[in-house]
Amino acid sequence: MWRELGKRLVVLVLTVAVVLAVVAGGSTLLQSETERTSLQNPEYEPDAVVPDPIEATGTVDPNPDAAADDTGTIVIDRGHANRFTRSDIEPLVDALVREGYHVEFYTDGDLATALEDADAFLVIDPGSEYLPGDIEDVRQFTGNGGRLVMIGEPDRTAVSASLFGTSIATQESRLTTLASRYGMSVDTQYLYNQENADGTFKHVLARPTSGELDGVEETTMYTAAAVTARNGDVLLRSAPNTIKSGSDEVTGEYPVAVERNNVLLLGDKTFMQGNRYRVADNEQLVAYLAEFMIEGDYEAPPEVGGDANGETGADDDSDASTPTANATTTATAET
């Protein structure tokens, strides 16, 4: 009897299974395993993703005008809380020294005295404004053949830590009073370019606009500001589609180096850093800077009367016009 019952129980179980199978339908059993295909990722094609680095080769090789002195002195401003390190200026200093020039720093005291024997005066990223007396000294210097190079920077944010936490301070290039006397100014916003850059958007490329910069095709600047000069020549302009931070929808080719007579203004100090000056044609720009300074030829006005003349000349052309008549003709010829 138990065997008979067992047979029937088997039938019962089979019946349940058949009913469930009919209800559920065969579809789930019939589904085939989908074939596994490997994922194609054309968007990660290395050639499209990896940016080409800009070559960093070359040496600074100034080739100053034959008329320039074989020796002389370049004074670098250290008296206005200037922010630069030795590494920032070393490639330039090296070029000057190789050309037989001395490099001196002005720290304090009478600026006119410090500039007496100089051919050029270099002002890098000052942290304090020039006072009227110093400005007059510089104008008197440039009015008599001395060369002035001003290097500004956009407003930078300095992060510093203290016991009370991180503090953030803005660093400004306080060139306004000095540069404005030459009809020049430095912008406060940094430039960036998302299409033409050395690695990242803030490392902008600048290209020469005139024939002044022989051998320069492209220079790189690592956080630059736009600069302007009334009636001046633009030496370098940022690559197309450069944007000023804060005005993200306006693109342009902003001047980053301008020259007017014997004054040169740059919107960036980083291109000549010890570890950057070989990138692109930066070394040529450093060489040009050295040449520009070497070609300066300041002649102190004679003590009697001459001083007055020099100052009158400076006053006459007042705010924006040219420091000397001689330079004016040069500028006209250039433009």
Partner: protein, 329 residues
């Protein structure tokens, strides 16, 4: 009498008909279960992507997506995203997972509080993205702490000049740029026909509200989860469907309070930005998060976070983010 009962019982025991009847009754009793399992055309699986994307999140979501792909019932996936991104590599893993899934079945995304940076990367391959007006999306980009310039000394010797830092700041920016290019390239590969922004505009890494994102094409339309589920079912051709909400294991970690508040994750916790880049970053940590998420101010919302997070010595991404984006030389 007793023998007659015994005879009936024997006959019953011998009868097949009765057992078949019992079988049919039992089968029909179980039928609704079987019916429910198969009467719908398929299942829409909801996969939450909650919290900061790290290896754990990435592994969890990947596992859920793998399950969805291998389950023949699952005909469509809805990604329920509430994240401000996270680690770069983890975000890329999720992107690849979503991409693979979307090649096999419809993937529709519904954005909760945010799908920024790495989370947007994750959802870029979706067939359709829904966001709410208050959702934030975008921030397409990568950030990392630049390695400090170091040189091998008598204290630490190396076999090569770049062993300590991996390369100088300029080279490092090229690395970062290649990560950014991959990200942006992927977004355009997936949504190039929808996005109204130029490559440079997207590269600016702005965040957008849900409605703004609909305008610029980062998102397809305004809608919530229900819309996403219905859209997924519709796209998969399911007239009747089941919805299965998958649950990740573990705890969802949030850097952003708004994501934390919006999250429906069963286990969730707020973490400080140091969770991602550490107290003293020893090397580059590539992050795909909006820098505002790394703001030290967020840390105050975190229980048990050391207050020194804001007083870190190195210029951390958080400090630079707070300053408005500029960086010191």
């Amino acid at each position: 009498m007793a023998s007659r009962i015994g005879a009936i019982l024997r006959r019953i025991a011998r009868s097949y008909v009765l057992f078949v009847v019992i079988g049919v009754v039992v089968g029909l009793a179980l039928a609704p279960v079987a019916w429910n399992a198969t009467s719908s055309d398929g299942t829409v699986a909801i996969v939450p992507v909650a919290g900061t994307i790290d290896g754990g999140t990435s592994a969890g979501v990947s596992a859920m997506l793998q399950r969805a792909r291998s389950d023949s019932d699952v005909k469509a996936v809805v990604l329920l995203v509430n994240s401000g991104g996270g680690g770069a590599a983890a975000s890329e893993e999720l992107y690849l997972q979503t991409k693979r899934t979307s090649q096999e079945m419809p993937v529709i995304t519904s954005v909760d509080a945010a799908a920024a940076s790495g989370a947007y990367y994750t959802i870029a391959p979706s067939d359709h993205i829904y966001a709410k007006p208050a959702s934030t999306v975008g921030s397409v980009g990568v950030l990392a702490t630049t390695p400090t310039a170091l040189e091998p000394t008598t204290v630490v010797s190396t076999t090569g000049p770049n062993k300590l830092t991996g390369g100088d700041e300029r080279e490092f920016n090229y690395i970062l740029e290649s990560l950014g290019n991959a990200f942006i390239g992927a977004v355009f590969e997936q949504r190039g026909s929808e996005i109204q922004l130029s490559r440079s505009e997207l590269e600016q890494a702005r965040i957008y509200s849900g409605t703004q994102a609909v305008q610029n094409g980062l998102v397809d339309s305004i809608g919530g989860r229900q819309a996403a589920v219905e859209h997924a079912a519709d796209k998969a051709g399911l007239d009747s469907y089941d919805v299965r909400v998958m649950r990740p294991d573990g705890t969802a970690r949030f850097l952003s309070r708004s994501n934390y508040v919006a999250s429906t994750a069963p286990n969730k916790t707020m973490v400080s930005a140091t969770y991602l880049y550490g107290e003293e970053p020893s090397g580059p940590v590539f992050l795909m998060v909006p820098a505002t998420y790394l703001n030290p101010a967020n840390d105050s919302a975190t229980a048990g976070t050391p207050p020194t997070a804001a007083g870190r010595l190195s210029p951390s991404p958080s400090a630079t983010a707070a300053s408005g984006g500029t960086h010191v030389a």
